[in-house]
Structures are given as structure tokens and as C-alpha cells.
């Protein structure tokens, strides 16, 4: 695969120099670094609100969240975040176009019923969408499947197949192809290694092999 795959025709790069900041998950830190100061942000699947709280404190964003788990929602609202109980599959349709500068979906795409529909909504309601997901093409996943013949259980995919909420797993390459078929432009792409180092997608094949997670900035084409 080559960079020419990408919908906007440009070579996707992860040319982002990441200052390390302890406290939030590495992929959340990478996402936070992509969000502009003072922007309007919707975090879909915001969990306990770690990213929103970070963005509010350090980037002065006007942040909102959607979370499917009630305990997460209640924890978020208790800490003063604007979060509602909701479902990425059903509730994104309510929002108007361009309601946010950034619509973020971190580690949630693989748990949605219709990832393609969710992606379309994300780039509709956000001027930019930031999406991260576990990469099923990572060498460790491939190796587990190859050697044990069983569904891989790894650090970023910790549950056994029957207990996982992840019903639509994909690889970084799958994601790039889907984005292209949906007419969604990839502005930047990163493969995040197990240690947290992020590399660009200059070689998609290598990124798909070495990245434990994929992280993309998308927009409507």
C-alpha cells in the first residue's frame, strides 16, 4: 500500500511533535495535542471524562460528551463536565452540521453497530473528526492468531471474544480504505506503538504492522 491511497491525495503524516504529559492515556494525550485552543469539542464515548477535563483545563475548550455507560455519565457531570447519556449509533443524528470544531471518537468505533454511519456523522457535525481505534493488523495480534489459532487477547484488546464490546474490529489499512470509500479525507494519520511512540503512515504496510492503535484526523471531502 502506498500513501496515494489517502482520499485527499496527499501523503498522510503524523508530523506532530508530541510533548509527553503524564496523567491521561497516551492516545488521549495525542488527541488533545491535535485540538486547537478554545475550540468546540464533542467527545463521543467520553468514558469518565478524562479527555474532556484535560481539554477544559489546558485548552480552554467548550467541551461536550456523550457516554453510553450511566456511571461514566454521572461521574462526568459530577465533575462539572457537560455530558449526556447517549449512544454513538443513535444519537449523533440529532446534531446539526458543523456544530463542533472537533468531533472525537476515541477507542469507540470498534464497538459501534454501524461504524460507517458513525464516521459520516462525525465529519458532518465536526469540522474535523479525530478517531482512534485498536489496530487488529498489529503484529502481535497477527502472531497470536497465527500461532494459537484463537482470537487474540492483547493489552489493547483485553477481553476474550465472547465478552468483548468490540464487534467491528478493523486494521489501520481497513480504516483507510473505508474512509476513502466514504469520501472522507484523511488529514493526518498516526500509528501508535505499544510504548506510546507515534509514527506517521508514510509506509501504510509498516504502520499497519507496528501500530497497536491507529489515530486519524478526518474531514469531509
Amino acid at each position: 500500500m502506498s500513501a496515494a491511497l489517502l482520499a485527499d491525495g496527499s501523503a498522510p503524516t503524523g508530523a506532530i511533535d508530541v510533548p509527553r504529559n503524564d496523567g491521561i492515556r497516551i492516545d488521549l494525550q495525542l488527541i488533545a495535542d491535535m485540538v486547537e485552543q478554545g475550540s468546540r469539542v464533542l467527545d463521543v464515548g467520553c468514558g469518565d471524562g478524562a479527555l474532556l477535563a484535560y481539554l477544559a483545563a489546558f485548552k480552554q475548550v467548550d467541551g461536550r460528551g456523550i457516554e453510553i455507560g450511566q456511571s461514566g455519565v454521572n461521574a462526568c457531570v459530577s465533575r462539572g463536565l457537560s455530558v449526556m447519556q447517549g449512544d454513538a449509533d443513535t444519537d449523533l443524528q440529532d446534531y446539526p452540521d458543523d456544530a463542533f470544531d472537533f468531533a472525537i471518537l476515541s477507542q469507540t468505533l470498534q464497538a459501534t453497530r454501524n461504524p460507517d454511519v458513525v464516521l459520516r456523522h462525525l465529519v458532518r457535525i465536526g469540522r474535523r473528526a479525530i478517531v482512534s481505534f485498536p489496530n487488529f493488523g498489529h503484529w502481535r495480534v497477527r502472531w497470536r492468531l497465527l500461532t494459537t489459532g484463537r482470537m487474540p487477547v492483547t493489552e489493547s484488546l483485553p477481553q476474550p471474544w465472547h465478552a468483548t464490546p468490540n464487534i467491528h474490529l478493523c486494521t489501520i489499512t481497513d480504516f483507510v480504505l473505508l474512509s476513502r470509500s466514504l469520501g472522507i479525507a484523511i488529514e493526518a494519520g498516526l500509528a501508535i506503538k505499544a510504548g506510546g511512540q507515534a509514527t506517521g503512515l508514510r509506509s501504510l504496510r509498516l504502520a499497519n504492522l507496528m501500530g497497536e492503535q491507529g489515530l486519524f484526523v478526518l474531514r469531509r471531502d
Binding site: D62, Q70, N74, G80, S82, V83, M84, Q85, D91
Partner: protein
């Protein structure tokens, strides 16, 4: 401002708090077309209004509540309806916020309503009192804010009909509301809820003591009808699980059933008690008027069938709260409001609190409810620039 209208003879004694006459210069125009001139509104305040007048929280009461939000009720001696939520160190902290309780239009605790004297006849208004709506209640509350010199509420909140008012405030006066917290509420009263209200009204009207609404002038009181109305309504405030947990089939002060129509079961005795204490503090005609105001509440229809139109470009920060076992104002009602607010990209939080206590949960100590409400208010206070509570020295 003077107290113009004495309560009818034999009615409740003078109540504490303020009672101010409004509308003397410019009458209040009601949705039904009638106008109210020179009418009293009774209200109570707790805490201190800050210099900027930016820390006021309006706590809107439900159908049978009143302005006595917390503290012992002057008439009944029992705790205020939000005793567990409003006070020093509580989620609505009176050390930080200035809390206002206002008896709604049509009420019977000092604000103009059917039990007050109609200046035209010198007799209680009774059914001559004009029909009022939730929007009218809110208009009247706005007059109180003007009187207090409060341009913008920090927050308007309330449960059930109080939640309807919190929504109506955001729709009618978006610039005067920084945050709105409608709890266990809906944007329109459902057919089922109208049906329950109709049962209550018919129970009152079926009582011969009601006298076509003229009972005060005739020195009578439809307490049986009002009591039955309260009993029926009370069931809708609970849940099957709560009733079972509280009472089950336990018998009242007896070992076996009596094969009669005495209150054999504890649940019967409880309901009769609830009915009988209610009539000591509530006016039957007020019950008719206020239930009707709730029935008429329909923000959706008022905005061309699209609720989102009520909140276009709203600057208000919303927090919707519902309870899992509330079947009177179920979560779906709150969710419909949330969807409408999302459609205009409003700032909205929404929590559904797990509780088996039914609709009444909004009046009760539910730790998760308190934590979310307290957290939401803290977050809003920060955005509003309210000074944090200074620790006592």
C-alpha cells in the same frame, strides 16, 4: 408594597416570608386572555444575594409544594420539600447561593389563587379565578426577580411541574437564565398524566362539599374529594417496587384481615393518612387549577411541533435529570428534551439516576442525584465566575 388581601377567615394564619403585591400599574396578561391587576405573590428566600446579584437559584415547586423550600413548614411543622437538597453544605448550598422559593400563581400559600379574595366581589375567587398556565407562573416569577433586582438567575431548577417551569424559563427568558435543571420533567404533559389529573379533579368535584367551587364562601370544605385526589396521585409518585418494599401485603395493626372495608393493609392506611394530612394544607380549587396548568403544558405544540425551536441559539446550560423507576415522567420524556437541545447544539448534560423510588425520587436523598446536581452547579459556578466558598477560618 403592602399586604392587601387577608386570607379568608378561619384559614391558615399569617405566614412568614414576603408577600408583595404586583400588577397594580401594569396588569399581568395571562395566556387565557384575562388580566390580573394588584395581586399578591408570596415568596421565601434563603442565603444571601451577592453584590453582583449573580448567585440566585430559583427553586420551582411541584404541584402541591410551596415557597417553603427548606426548614420547618410554618403550617405543618414538617420539613420543607427540598430539605435534604437545599441548605448549608448541601448540593444547593445556601452559603454560596441565594435560593428563592415562590408560591406559584393559582397556589394557596399566599400567592393569588382561587382561595384569595376577588376584589370585584369581596368573596373568594373560586371558579371565577382565570385559568393559569405554566408560562403564566413563570411570568409572575419574573416580576419577583425584577422586584429583587435580579437580572439573571444563576440557575432555575425544580422537579415535575417545577421542572416544567425550569424549561419554560429557558424558553421564555433565555437571557435571564444562566443554567436550567429540569428534573423528572417533560416538555409536554402526557395523555396518561392528564388522565390521572382528571381522576383527581373529578374526585374533588364529586364531593358535595365542593359546592360548584363555592365552598369557601359557604363555609364548607371538600376534604373527602381532595383527599381521594391526593391518594390517587400519591400512587403515581411511587413505584411498584417502592410500594412493595415499604408495605408489601403487611396488615395494619392486626393479625388477619377483617373481611370488611377497614384499612386492613398498611398501604391503605398510609394512603388515607397521606390524603388526610394533605387537606389541612391545600386548597381544593387550587388543586384543580394547578393540575390544569400542567395538563395544558406543551412546549412542543407551542413551537410549531418542533421542540428544538423553543431553544434555538439558547445560551442556557442545561442539565436534565430523570430516575429509572419514574413512570409518571419517564426517562424517555427527558431524552426527548435532550434530543431537541442537541438539535440546536445547546450545552446539555443528561443523567438518569438509578432509583426504585419512582417519581418522588426527586424529593429524596439519592446520593448519585445529589452528586451530579452539586457537580453541575459547581461547574456552572466556575463558568459564571462565582467565587468559590471560602473555607471557614
Amino acid at each position: 408594597m403592602t399586604t392587601l388581601h387577608r386570607l379568608p377567615a378561619g384559614a391558615w394564619p399569617d405566614l412568614p416570608g414576603q408577600r408583595v403585591v404586583f400588577g397594580a400599574d401594569a396588569p399581568l396578561r395571562l395566556d387565557c386572555g384575562a388580566e390580573l391587576g394588584s395581586f399578591p405573590i408570596a415568596f421565601q428566600t434563603y442565603g444571601t444575594l451577592n453584590k453582583e446579584r449573580s448567585n440566585a437559584i430559583l427553586a420551582c415547586h411541584a404541584l402541591t409544594g410551596d415557597q417553603f423550600v427548606t426548614g420547618p413548614h410554618p403550617l405543618t411543622g414538617r420539613s420543607g420539600w427540598w430539605q435534604s437538597l437545599v441548605g448549608p453544605g448541601l448540593p444547593i448550598d445556601t452559603r454560596r447561593y441565594f435560593v428563592i422559593g415562590i408560591n406559584v400563581l393559582g397556589g394557596c400559600m399566599g400567592t393569588i389563587g382561587p382561595r384569595e379574595i376577588n376584589p370585584a366581589s369581596g368573596k373568594p375567587w373560586g371558579l371565577d379565578f382565570p385559568m393559569i398556565t405554566v408560562a403564566d407562573m413563570v411570568r409572575a416569577q419574573a416580576l419577583v426577580l425584577d422586584y429583587l433586582g435580579i437580572e439573571q438567575l444563576f440557575c432555575v431548577t425544580g422537579g415535575s411541574m417545577g421542572g416544567m417551569q425550569a424549561l419554560q424559563w429557558a424558553a421564555s427568558y433565555p437571557a435571564r437564565v444562566f443554567a436550567s435543571v429540569p428534573i423528572a420533567a417533560s416538555a409536554k404533559h402526557s395523555a396518561q398524566n392528564i388522565a390521572f389529573h382528571e381522576v383527581g379533579r373529578q374526585a374533588i368535584m364529586a364531593d358535595p362539599e365542593w359546592c360548584g367551587g363555592d365552598y369557601l364562601a359557604q363555609g364548607r370544605n371538600p376534604s373527602r374529594g381532595l383527599s381521594v385526589a391526593r391518594m390517587a396521585a400519591h400512587i403515581t409518585y411511587l413505584s411498584e417496587a417502592a410500594l412493595h418494599r415499604k408495605f408489601g401485603r403487611t396488615l395494619q395493626d392486626r393479625d388477619r384481615v377483617t373481611y370488611g372495608f377497614d384499612a386492613d393493609f398498611q398501604v391503605e392506611s398510609y394512603l388515607r393518612h397521606q390524603g388526610s394530612i394533605f387537606v389541612d394544607r391545600f386548597d381544593a380549587n387550587s388543586y384543580l387549577y394547578i393540575t390544569r396548568a400542567m395538563d395544558y403544558f406543551d412546549l412542543v405544540a407551542e413551537h410549531g411541533g418542533v421542540l428544538a425551536n423553543a431553544f434555538r441559539d439558547t445560551p442556557v446550560r442545561f442539565c436534565l435529570v430523570s430516575f429509572t423507576s419514574d413512570w409518571l415522567f419517564p426517562t424517555a420524556e427527558s431524552r426527548a428534551i435532550v434530543r431537541a437541545l442537541n438539535a440546536v447544539a445547546a450545552n446539555v448534560s443528561f443523567v438518569e439516576i438509578p432509583s426504585d423510588k419512582g417519581h418522588d425520587a426527586f424529593l429524596l436523598e439519592e446520593p448519585e442525584f445529589f452528586a451530579t446536581l452539586g457537580g453541575f452547579l459547581d461547574g456552572c459556578a466556575e463558568h459564571r465566575g462565582l467565587a468559590p466558598l471560602s473555607e471557614p477560618a
